[in-house]
Symmetry: C2
Subunit: 188 residues, 2 copies
């Protein structure tokens, strides 16, 4: 079976993340990705995880504690403020856009702030580092966010970034889509 | 670096093709894919390669001979006639849509025949088999073919097929795009 966007996103992260890396989970949500990233960077690395919902930070904290993870820093703040908390030379940044799975669907990510956060992440990124964005767009605000995001990333400099978009075309239930941005090697 | 469509296409093929399989190169062109497929299926498998240009069949034949490949059948006929030559239970079918690289760019694939060929391929395919389509759309007729192809595959039954589309969004030189169609396991 072809991998869905979530599985694809993990493959794109595994390809580049090494023990010792600094990485960011821009949308901690229930902490699944934070845990996945913390394991990839190992104890010598560091994960910064952002969320604006207290319940998300708590759920993530509980999940990490249960797994014995101590190399993650959870930040109760919008991901657009990433540069205030995260040092330069980040290997990868993950966004799950849409909503906190299983939680209040009226609390969605906002596209203006999302784009600010991606702009911040692009500058923090190491050469050959990646931003991986999973887009849930089943609900109305998700469709708007998807359109604005695709427009924004389509305009990124081709001298500095590769932007890959993948989507399942023939499914009626709006399956999640994937955008991977890689900073070019010669870029700074 | 993120893999381009051509490299991605090879990854999607390698994931499923086994020694002994029957596979199809729907657009033999210069024979690069035919050779790649012949190696994957090994001597116990079989590759059928189609092209409407004599020079393509000759180039492919020369390439296979040089590599000592004897399990390929080269067919000088349009790929829309695939079902006349290829048995049922095919593991994978490859299309490179656009033109024969390095040859006369006015001889392009035609979208009506391409869609007929994909329809034929869908029926020949094993469950979990894949059709992998690389779309070169730098020239005008390629853009029309791309649009018609995407419309066609978007309409395929989601009960029978998964359809994944991937493209680089921020490049000005119309890099090739990829469509992967997988027949579902329970499908027939």
């Amino acid at each position: 079976m072809l991998q869905n966007a979530l599985h694809q996103s993990k493959s794109y992260l595994k390809e580049i993340i090494q023990p010792g890396d600094v990485v960011v989970d821009a949308t901690a949500g229930n902490g699944h990705d934070t845990l996945f990233l913390a394991k990839l960077v190992s104890e010598s690395g560091r994960v910064f995880a952002f969320d604006i919902q207290t319940e998300a930070i708590q759920a993530t904290q509980a999940r990490l504690q249960q797994a014995g993870i101590t190399n993650a820093e959870l930040v109760l703040a919008g991901h657009e403020r990433m540069a205030e908390f995260v040092p330069q030379n980040v290997r990868a940044v993950v966004f799950n856009l849409g909503y906190l799975p299983g939680a209040d669907h009226s609390v969605t990510t906002e596209s203006t702030k999302t784009i600010q956060a991606i702009e911040a992440a692009l500058e923090l990124l190491l050469p050959e580092g990646r931003i991986v964005v999973v887009i849930y767009h089943g609900h109305e605000s998700g469709k708007i966010e998807r359109a604005q995001l695709l427009e924004f990333v389509s305009g990124l400099s081709q001298d500095r970034f590769q932007v890959l978009h993948s989507a399942f075309l023939n499914q009626q239930n709006s399956p999640p889509e994937l955008v991977v941005i890689e900073k070019k090697k010669s870029s700074s």
